[in-house]
Symmetry: D2
Subunit: 346 residues, 4 copies
């Protein structure tokens, strides 16, 4: 059994890790850390877990954790991860970090978009961007994974085949993304107060959202040229789910079916990516509760433009599920282990 620790276990990404790992056949939750609830059973905070996971929340003590765990998931706010992870790595643990701190190849991009200094360039260099569909081999070989953001996972995987095959112009890529509210986490703010966000929809952080830089980093690698994109996130009155609607101009004429074939071929070995047939498009509730990425597209022949629709569950493929997928790879397990539950739909 893999002994796992979860830091930030009572946040929304953390508790999703706890829930999913409790069902993983080869993982054992050895330590749940939550500074706000030290000494309390995690099933008191989240009563759904009672009789399933009744671990007591611990303080953050890297030394203690190192002794109890083989791998640690850090689901801490951006910035907080950086202070604890060096000790964990030094103690020989594998670390999967769900913050933005270890997702960047270029430290200056991080420092610009996060408006903070990064104190551990040596770790950043060692870290691998944890998108298995793109970096599976490197993930297997590294002790430190920067688990991708939710919007980014949905958007990058939705675009990768067209950039890899040089099908689209790279100067007019527009990603209009919409997310359920759980992406904002458990922290209180008026924007996420029920009466303020139910029956309401809005765009936010237009042209300035940090995930833009993550998306650009990965798309540039795939395209082998520097890519810039428009990225606009929106808040939708639902709990889970992200839908990215992506627009790009085609370099030459294509039929919808041709592009779908490019996707099916590119992702032919990927269990978690499902490409839709012509005439069908994914909806967020097709993936709610699962680790799948569902992708469909339409070529607008009038305009020689493609519109791609990509959906994920932001808490699973956009956070906890992907982190477990990374863990599976790091420990040589079948990548799908513990992740084959279909979505709930209802």
């Amino acid at each position: 059994m893999i002994k796992v620790g979860i830091l930030g276990a009572t946040g929304y990404a953390g508790i999703e890790l706890v829930r999913m790992l409790s069902q993983h056949p080869y993982a054992k939750i050895s330590s749940v850390v939550s500074q706000s609830f030290v000494g309390q059973k995690i099933s008191n905070i989240y009563p759904n877990l009672r009789n399933i996971v009744d671990n007591v929340c611990e303080e953050l003590d890297a030394e203690v954790i190192s002794k109890k765990c083989d791998v640690v998931f850090t689901a801490l706010p951006h910035g907080a991860s950086k202070t604890v992870i060096p000790q964990l790595i030094q103690a020989g643990l594998k670390v999967i970090d769900l913050s933005g701190d270890f997702r960047y190849n270029d430290i200056s991009v991080y420092e610009k978009w996060y408006q903070t200094k990064h104190d551990h360039p040596e770790l950043l260099k060692m870290a691998v961007y944890g998108l298995p569909e793109l970096h599976r081999d490197k993930i297997a070989a590294s002790p430190l994974i920067g688990n991708p953001g939710c919007y980014t996972t949905c958007s990058i995987l939705g675009l990768a085949p067209l950039l890899a095959d040089k099908v689209i112009a790279t100067d007019n890529i527009i990603i209009d993304a919409k997310s359920g509210v759980s992406g904002a986490g458990r922290g209180l703010a008026l924007d996420y107060h029920f009466c303020e966000c139910t029956e309401n929809m809005k765009a936010y952080k237009v042209a300035t959202h940090r995930h833009t830089s993550e998306i650009e980093q990965e798309l540039s690698i795939i395209a082998n040229e520097e890519i810039f994109i428009s990225f606009t996130p929106h808040l939708v009155p639902m709990k889970r789910g992200i839908i990215s609607t992506i627009y790009a101009n085609l370099k030459q004429e294509y039929e919808t079916a041709e592009l779908l074939n490019i996707y099916k071929n590119y992702y032919k070995d990927e269990f978690f990516i499902r490409i839709y047939d012509e005439g069908q498009l994914p909806e967020t509730n097709h993936v709610t509760g699962s680790n799948f990425v569902d992708i469909g597209l339409v070529v607008d022949t009038r305009l020689n433009r493609v519109v791609i629709v990509s959906v994920i569950d932001n808490l699973i493929k956009g956070a906890a599920g992907q982190a477990i997928q990374n863990m599976n790879i790091m420990f040589g397990l079948d990548e799908k282990t513990g992740l084959t539950s279909p979505g709930l739909y209802l």
Copy 2:
């Protein structure tokens, strides 16, 4: 492996069976029957299932099913079950029926509340009411189970200990129940049109809902006297979840903690029933996605009355999960098999 068939597989209870059975370690879905979608993959109707359950929907043919299955779940409308089940039973299959057709000990009660003739009194006699916490032994011994209704499961289990222990007066029991919309199923009706039921709440079938008779049957057995109750169902703008708020007058003075102890003792061997400590009450999202029944209560000492709050996921403990629990019992498996997933909470 137990070979299972699901009749009415594309309804909401049916598809929940499909989803949950796809994760059951000792069950294999051999046949999915849906008259409306014969010849189509069930994962075309519910794309969340793609690559997990891709069975093709079949016509209803008892003979074919009998050859392929060990047990059949019938998730058909009330009345429809009665015509197919006799053939299945005759062919030696075990049958778990999710309709109201085989839930009654007294045929006249059924015929009164369902306003229809019951053509198979001999099967009704053989059938067992499938509430494992009350009738586990009989379930193990019978080939035909009448799986309880959603409101009834939530309400009966919420009241059983107090009636068994003769703690409450039996002439003033009031059950005010509230359900998410999935309980109404997949059939179209203006009442379940999104714009008509979001941001809206209502009572319906006041004093006439059929589940009243089921609740009264079971409570009468427990109390060993004829029990009549007020039962009022309400529709709430959420997908899953039932909450029953139950009022009863105490025969003598009790403290909240005393009554909770009665519950804890009564249900001490029941994995799926979780009794809350004093000062805490269950909410529907504590059980969403799981087979648990969560129960809390408060004694109103001013009035010498107890208020009990009982919650379930109507599609799981109120339908598919309970049906699988029954299957486990019928086949001698650990009752919890395939049912230990905690609720989603989020």
Copy 3:
């Protein structure tokens, strides 16, 4: 024109007053007070009001307000009202208070349920409980109105005719009430965080909610005997609306239609109360956005018990609309002035 001031204008009850008074033909908003947003336009906080109400939020200064206003609505937290209202009354203003501070005939009841000392018994004596359907004449004659709570309005009006006519037993009255989330106000708390309350339902403050005492006070007056009730509030995932489901035992046999006639007769001159015909029941979206109270009922002849369903919009008839209705009475206007907008339904 009546010059009105609104204290606590940026809370949910306060802003509903602002919105509704902006459409009142004989009222002019002279002062909006909000300690948190002094100096900001109220339409910056609630952009829906832009170009309609652009008043600047002021500090709470009783002297200043007294000069600018004829009547003041105090939509402040319980306790806060008591400190400012004496000055306003002394300055000769009429005051309509939306807190619980001036709703009680008996100071000891207030002090028991609110667990605080009431420093102004003389004002409490002068104050009138602002439920126009019961106390219209007294409201017209008093400068200080204690505007009723939301649950109370819905529940009292739903029961009054049966108690006035001595139709029901008074020892087994049960009020099971369900409210949308706006009743909890604009203050942040995890319970009202979107992801915690959407797709969720719960009971809270069972047997201890303060509105119990208000309901009992008014029902006792109507019945001319001391009445005690069970009152259980629930939180429902919608913004507006309260539904009270009320249970009472009949003293003798009645038909549904007979009781409905008692209601129709009792409320025959009440514009804001609509009694449903037999076979129909109100839903919360019948009154969303309006000042109406809609009431229906069913006699359960099996049990000789009546089940009454009463609905209001908690922010309107349960707060701002009722307060304006009181203002109309206090100033000798037609009670319906500014309040004849039908509900939105959609």
Copy 4:
């Protein structure tokens, strides 16, 4: 008083007309027509209207209507309007049609996008596109108005100033629009079943939605050149509200504030259009329940691209409110009459 008739009064656009016209100081509802509910009070179908609008639904009889009305709103399905409107026009009535039948300058565009023959080219020629902010004078002079679609109103007004001022390139305009479910109307379909659309989001009719052609027609007029756009509608789990997120490339460098000034200047006399200051963006609940269009924008200087966010209430400025605005203009009233109610926000 203007005597108005409403055809299709029990659909969602129709009933919103009824609700809003009941509050219009110079309009009197003389006739409500609903084929499905002939002989029933409209307040039986929509109980929110009881005691406010209790008209009885009539059959569709052009002759009868002509005698009772000065103006008729036709809120009928596309295609149905064409058969009744000629008679109404011939009888000298003014007609405001909410279908797509009379929105086009070029009959061939209509016939291509609606895949049907248009039998009344002479009426189409006489009809005026009822977007007052663009065609106020023509509306005043015509007896037949083609009331714009909901998506179109939101999108055209969001883009008009930039095209009029030739600020943006015309070959890469992308409109990503999201709508609440009421836009789909009252007709039953699985897509709008509560359990299928709550907690779910999807794109639909990608590259083929009819409103594309309406948007292109109007933008082409403003730009004085042929404009083609990408338009993608999405369904969002809320009742009311549309948000259009619009992307366009700037011809030269601009600051956000400069473009906002262009909007403020272009719309300086428009009561119903509110331009946001830099740093603020509209949300759908800023306009829910009102006739306002709220617009904000951000220049992405990295990409020299502008992102515009435009919101309306689809049932008001996108249907009933705009239709009443047109009526006001046609009858020489102040355009704002009956339309100054602020949004609900809550």
